[in-house]
Symmetry: C2
């Protein structure tokens, strides 16, 4: 499918409501569940999405619009949210994500037009990227983390489903 700016905005705008519908008021054991080792819980993921909106997606779009390839994007700290989320409740993170995302979407609609989509920026690791690729990656990044949260929750019942495991891809795959 071809990238369409307004469709991307529609999908991005839905993510906070989707995550709130899925997670708000779930028992703590589920909110804090993870896949073992250093893997993230739903709580961790919401913190990461807040931090990514604040420091990554629209800030990088603005860097492209203002500086093009002349200025490389800053590095993205994939672990900063652990500090920012400390001591918070899931409800307060979900509320913050809804507010931050609404602000991001307003900025997106105000600052970017279709004619900007092929403008180039400089990613510190990936090299030359277009604004279109950055915005498409934002959409896919949301959905990647929604998939992650679904998987983390489902895997809590990997043993409890017994012989059904063979029918349920989400608990069958590594």
């Amino acid at each position: 499918m071809e990238f369409v700016l307004e469709e991307a905005a529609i999908i991005l705008a839905r993510t906070p409501g989707t995550l709130s519908a899925l997670l708000r008021d779930l028992p703590d054991g589920w909110v804090l569940a993870h896949e073992g080792g250093d893997t993230w819980s739903p709580f961790d993921v919401i913190g990461h999405l807040i931090h990514a909106d604040r420091t990554n997606w629209m800030p990088r779009a603005r860097t492209i619009l203002e500086h093009g390839e002349a200025k490389s994007f800053g590095e993205f700290d994939r672990f900063a949210h652990f500090r920012n989320s400390e001591g918070r409740t899931l409800a307060s993170l979900l509320d913050e994500f809804a507010a931050v995302r609404q602000h991001s979407i307003e900025e997106l609609r105000g600052a970017v037009s279709m004619s900007d989509l092929n403008r180039l920026g400089q990613h510190p690791a990936l090299g030359a990227v277009t604004l279109r690729q950055l915005l498409a990656a934002w959409v896919v990044h949301d959905l990647d983390h929604l998939m992650q949260i679904s998987r983390v929750l489902a895997r809590q019942y990997t043993n409890e489903v017994g012989p059904w495991r063979q029918y349920l891809r989400i608990v069958r795959e590594p």
Copy 2:
């Protein structure tokens, strides 16, 4: 995590709202998008979830409660929803799923208690299964399809994300 009846009911009750938040009023191209070949679109998945609630989950639980292992579950028609969804809008399917699921949860809370969870039933392919395994599989089945819908949507932008593909597991994996 150990299966807890009331926690399962809480998660099952959230699925219609989650899918509505994610999908309602998305452009048709997204609602009908799939992963190629015979794979399912978000529209198809909602029809399947309705059909599974109507004919599979609580009906099988009732079979266990009433007949134990003496009566095998009926076969589940994994394709019936293609007929039932024909000509429908996504909005009407989402509304129907919300109503059907609410009814299922009321039945679950009314009919099943913790002391029933180890009762045995007979699955036509899997053999002896417990009510606990059936109900855990219901929860995981919801989350499996939420993961599927996230993946189907994300993959529409597989090409549009360009070099970000290597960072985004959802479009990188086969």
